[in-house]
């Protein structure tokens, strides 16, 4: 993987707005062919990072390189490879939807009319309505169409699904999977609806208060954390449980619910066997894992403070 040129390379990037440091020395690389989920609390720096990657913000320190070019100096031919959807989509309110689509399509020789048709029927986009009267969800759908219609190699989506209803959201996620099927496409998506993106992403970046807390393959992250039910087969559970990496423990009599980190299945089973207990693996959602990482980091910080 390392010999493939990354699509985005961010090195020691910092950015402030009026005394507030939005990004504090961020390092990351985005490799081609992936769907990368950028997650974190609002105000954590997600939008700043995405805007910097397309050259809308310039770094105060460090660098951001997109398609091998300094992001602030992307040329029109580089920008033509990037689709970008953000919360405040810049749409022209006096145009009709049709006019707006034709206006944008005219800039791109590679505009895919067939994809446009498919998208419009799937998302029920009415071409005759004026952009200015569209609901937030309809505006979002239009902004997405404008960003994918020219089949960009890199699709950057900043909270794209926030205004969509559940069915449109599901269709939108399916659409992203269609898009990634074509070789050489990369999707970077920020969202705070973790249950939405957990089905499609293969890599995750957790951005918290301007720094990257985790940069990991999604499956590795999932397997790092586990939740199990421990059941003692003879009497109540012992006072201390011999598990390393114990993050949380609720117990009552012969049973306990444990949340664990960095412990593989067979080590857990060995520990359970040694105390005459059985182990049952329980589901742990991405949202819970995310919370464990954020809280774990907060408590580490608290310990470091004098």
């Amino acid at each position: 993987m390392s010999n493939i040129e990354p699509i985005i390379r961010v090195e020691n990037l910092s950015k402030s707005f009026d005394q507030v440091q939005a990004l504090k020395g961020v390092n990351l690389t985005i490799h081609p062919g992936r769907i990368v989920g950028l997650v974190g609390a609002n105000g954590g720096g997600k939008s700043t990072l995405l805007r910097t990657a397309v050259g809308l913000y310039l770094p105060d320190g460090g660098s951001c390189t997109t398609f091998g070019q300094e992001a602030g100096k992307l040329r029109p031919e580089d920008l033509a490879r990037i689709g970008y959807v953000h919360q405040e989509g810049e749409l022209v309110d006096w145009m009709t939807v049709d006019q707006m689509v034709r206006y944008v399509a005219a800039y791109y020789p590679g505009w895919n009319g067939e994809l446009e048709e498919r998208y419009r029927s799937r998302f029920e986009v009415d071409g005759h309505r004026r952009v200015g009267v569209l609901s937030p969800g309809e505006r979002q759908k239009l902004a997405i169409l404008l960003a994918i219609g020219f089949e960009p190699e890199l699709l950057i989506l900043d909270e794209p699904a926030a205004a969509l209803d559940p069915i449109a959201r599901q269709r939108f996620l399916d659409l992203l999977l269609d898009i990634i099927q074509d070789a050489g496409r990369t999707i970077l998506i920020s969202s705070h609806i973790l249950s939405d993106i957990e089905k499609i992403i293969d890599h995750v970046l957790i951005l918290d208060r301007g720094t990257i807390l985790r940069d990991a393959g999604f499956d590795e992250l999932r397997e790092e954390f586990s939740k199990v039910r421990l059941t003692s087969l003879n009497g109540p559970l012992p006072e201390t449980l011999p598990f390393e990496g114990l993050l949380a423990c609720e117990r009552s009599g012969a049973e306990a619910l444990l949340t664990l980190r960095a412990l593989n299945r067979s080590d857990m089973e060995t520990a359970a066997d040694s105390m005459r207990c059985t182990l049952e693996l329980l589901p742990l959602s991405f949202e819970e894992i995310y919370r464990l990482i954020i809280e774990g980091n907060r408590s580490e910080e608290a310990e470091l403070e004098p």
Partner: protein, 140 residues
């Protein structure tokens, strides 16, 4: 090549690639998928299940490593002829895992070993006879 019947729960705790692996492994062990049968392509399966194609390639990659599936260059993936001894070992392992919950419950409820074993045998016989009944129906 038939389409694979898989049920994926994205919020189900196990990573999706593991769910895919487990279900395909089970289908191979139960004979639902025969040796020599071609597996659905990564693209087709990921589109149908609506999951990331990398997830499916990863699951397939591990099944190849386990020797349950083999890659034929330029054609695709096929179910391997699994050696009898390793087939048996894997089947026993899967069965033991499936026992886990029932065994825990039996011990917790204080059901003696011979009674638990009798219940299990009874259950087996019931399934077996309904299976035979079906075979008879099919012959007529």
């Amino acid at each position: 090549m038939e389409t694979l019947l898989l049920d994926i729960d994205p919020h189900g705790g196990l990573p999706i690639y593991r769910q895919v692996m487990n279900q395909i492994r089970r289908q191979i062990m139960t004979g639902q998928l025969d040796a020599g049968e071609q597996l659905e392509s990564v693209k087709s399966l990921s589109t149908r299940l609506k999951v990331n194609p990398m997830t499916i390639s990863k699951a397939y990659g591990f099944l190849v490593e386990e020797g349950l599936v083999e890659r034929r260059r330029g054609v695709g993936l096929f179910v391997s002829q699994v050696r009898a001894d390793s087939r048996k070992r894997l089947q026993q392992k899967m069965l033991r895992e499936a026992f886990g919950k029932a065994a825990t419950l039996a011990v917790q409820m204080g059901i003696p070993e011979d009674e638990a074993a009798r219940l299990f045998s009874e259950h087996l016989r019931q399934l077996d006879s309904s299976g035979k009944g079906r075979e008879r129906d099919e012959q007529h």
